[in-house]
Amino acid sequence: MSDTADQKTPGTAPDAAPATAAATAPATAPDTVPDSVPDAVPDSVPDAVPDDVVLRVEDLCVDFRTENGAARAVSNASLTVKRGQTVAIVGESGSGKTTLAMAVLGLLASNGSVAEGHIWFKDEDLGHVSAQRMAQLRGTELGLVPQDPMTNLDPIMRIGQQIDEGLIDNGLRSRRDARTRTVELLDEVGLPDAGRRASQYPHEFSGGMRQRALIAMGLSGRPALLVADEPTSALDVTVQRGILDQLAGLTEDLGTAVLLITHDLGLAAERADVVVVMYHGEIVEQGPARQVLTAPQHEYTKRLMAAAPSLASRRIEIARERGLEDVLDDALLAPGEDAAANGAPDADVLVSVKDVSKVFSIRGSGLLSRSRDFTAVDGVSLDIPRGSTVAVVGESGSGKSTLARMILDIEKPTTGSITFDGGLVGAGGHKDQIAYRRRVQPVFQDPYSSLDPLYSVFRAIEEPLRAHSYGDVAKRRARVEELADQVALSKSQLQRFPAELSGGQRQRVAIARALALSPELVVCDEAVSALDVVVQAQILQLLAGLQEELGLTYLFITHDLAVVRQIADRVLVMQEGRVVEEGTVDTVFDSPATDYTRALLDAIPGRDLELAL
């Protein structure tokens, strides 16, 4: 990362000038804007309220009523959004970025309220207008593109109707003309066959199509300000790019100001004019995108930069970092030895997948229609050398998770074979299967749903030990504590329940649970996809450290190429059940051989930023 920081070239200065003005505007605002501003004519404060400022948030504080009194989610936040400008608010979950955006839209949860400060939208203070007025503004002057396309559309209402109703209720179209307009809007966001699509239900749409519909909805009233809350974080990377391009193109044509909420620094850098960094409810840094990224001032921004996978260029070299920290020579030597071992031909292949296919039969939809076959994995072969990390990359539906499930012996291959340490997987009886489960452990994607909410951390980690009758009570306790220590969980956290832990802590629990039986292979199925970048980097560091310490072998299943670069030795790219490219991480990243891989790489937000800086 040091190279980006060094390149604080004068070349970025011209960009910086106008946005710096925007960033400093809040500071001067309280002096020049009297409390009676809604009554004041714009002419009386011509300098402070230029016509092109759409939104100005001043010293905003948002509180939530809780059982323990008021909790402040946003404190003293100030920012300005100008017409046609895109301002990105970047931060981890819990940083207050979404709360700030929802305060602007007047859509805070019922226990939340604007405690102090102002939200000037044109000449109204949205923090203090009536609920009726706020409802009038929403859908006409203020639009929203929400985060998760899967949960943000009413599942039992046709897509078209969901857009119609906004047009009708906001008085933009009559009941009769609404549908024509809706089809135009859907067409505008690049939804093919919009007329027919409008009469379909959300479950008949893919995630990307749903998000396009939501964008059409957010822009249907031609708002002056569009709040885009993580508009693509739930989508595949290749879909992401198309949607963001569409959104950027439309808002530019319409002159819409965009408040973009994201946890992805690369995306913010690529898409925004101004970047606002939030941390623990406060704005810690803001300025022109390039300036914030090339010369971050605040400690947190620097951490965020260092952790952002899309901006990181190399695999985490845990040993070297340790060496720098601890000045331990043997730590430095270890990876070299590993590399030597891996380099030996066929030295020690732990898992060998030979020409494996998996065919599912799908039930037909008609009364008499017959089931048809669907090939999820189609003739895949791969070797995983002991002590190495192999990543399988692909979009949802590429068959990567099915492959992982077959290696975990949860699914049986239709054809082909999988051998583990020389033995055929799934060949033996129930006992062999149990023995195999000890040696191969999974870490799943969602740390929120893969832990039993009624099990304490201790019990969650202890469970596999119990299941495989490991030692007595005291021995199990010692082992759990050892595991907790390995994944950097404190002893006091062992008595907590999943609900009391953060996402990163939960994933540590999941990793400790997976390591409990000292497995040889750990299958990480999107193990860090649900985590914030900083936490993601910590978990990847942890995994790399554990690999070195315990000689683990990893199979990493992910859709995120940026993560692959940080952790893997070899990478396989899967598309529609087939391996389309395979090689070392450096080869695949530096000279991708197929268009598909190139598309995946291009889709990483902020990728060309490295080159630009």
Partner: protein
């Protein structure tokens, strides 16, 4: 949708076959056999032998079952040993009364339960919310027959606001083309008869509807609480749509999915609950007749009524599943 209906109707066949086996075995397993059940415990051996030959009880069990099944398929459910009339006729004359009562109970449960549950969820923590929770707890815990007695004592005996027993005033001269008394009154233009029949339904309807009312209220409250915090409701608000549309089209409609399932299950409870309620109010429906059949060891009636109630129950739940598909487009294709 058609596929769902056909599938469910086909599933009804094994269900009814299984039930017929159980009912058949039940009577055959009675102490002393079906002849003793028919004639009473003090019957002479000669009389029992005569009955056994007459009804074929001396034949092998599988043969008897096949004959029983054949008669069932022909609509012959046997003859009531008490009234001497065919079981099917007894059922058909009384079933309209029970339907009327069940409809009134459901109207009370749905008409009060859904709005009350909705308001309770929208104003969580308010007085209305707390009282609805307490009231529904009481509704679920108080036994139906007890509530029926209390209602009858207070509103019929003490206050005299409602009649205490029967379907209609015995002195009322009325014609009954359909045996749905309220409907009959409306069809024939005998307004006073219709009104009188309706008044007779109020107290039993409240007693019978109390448990479904409590359950529908709680279910609605839970469903609305969840749906009103759903992402798509927030997105709908962000669109600036009118509050009435938000409540009706988005919140209420989505909340109805689980409530509908509950209502379907309640219909079964209403049919069995009718036994108690109809007995307390001397209401001439299938419930009170079934109760009398039990007291008089009238096995053909018990067998036939149980089978028919099962068919009704299965059909009602099919209806619920179909309406579920009408509300939720996701289920139309999958099932």
């Amino acid at each position: 949708m058609l596929r769902l209906i056909v599938q469910r109707l086909l599933l009804l066949i094994p269900l009814l076959l299984g039930l017929s086996v159980l009912l058949f075995a039940w009577v055959r397993a009675l102490p002393g056999g079906p002849a003793t059940a028919l004639l009473g415990e003090r019957a002479t051996p000669e009389a029992i032998a005569r009955i056994n030959t007459l009804y074929g009880f001396d034949q092998p069990i599988p043969v008897q079952y096949l004959k029983y099944l054949t008669r069932l398929l022909q609509g012959d459910f046997g003859v009531s040993t008490r009234t001497g009339r065919p079981v099917l006729d007894e059922f058909m004359t009384r079933f309209p009364a029970t339907i009327e009562l069940t409809v009134v109970a459901l109207v009370i449960a749905i008409g009060i339960g859904i709005p009350l549950g909705y308001i309770a969820a929208r104003r969580a923590g308010s007085f209305i919310d707390h009282s609805s929770v307490v009231a529904s707890l009481i509704g679920v815990t108080v036994p139906v027959f007890f509530l029926a007695f209390i209602l009858k004592y207070i509103f019929a005996v003490e206050l005299g606001w409602f009649p205490s027993t029967g379907r209609q005033d015995p002195t009322m001269v009325a014609t009954h083309p359909t045996n749905f008394y309220v409907l009959d009154g409306l069809l024939t233009g005998e307004w006073d008869a219709a009104w009188d029949a309706l008044v007779h339904l109020i107290l039993p309807g409240i007693a019978l509807g109390s448990i479904p009312l409590a359950i529908v209220t709680r279910m609605t409250r839970a469903a609305v609480s969840e749906v009103q915090n759903a992402d798509y409701v927030r997105t709908a608000r962000a669109k600036g749509i009118k509050p009435a549309r938000l409540r009706g089209e988005h919140i209420l409609r989505n909340s109805m999915l689980p409530v509908l399932t509950t209502i379907g299950l309640q219909v079964g409870l209403l049919l069995s609950g009718a036994v108690l309620t109809e007995t307390v109010f001397a209401f001439a429906g299938i419930g009170s007749f079934l109760a009398e059949a039990v007291f008089n060891a009238d096995y053909p009636v018990m067998q036939g009524f149980v089978l028919m109630i099962a068919i009704v129950y299965a059909l009602v739940n099919l209806l619920v599943d179909v309406s579920y598909g009408l509300i939720d487009p996701r289920l139309r294709r999958q099932q």
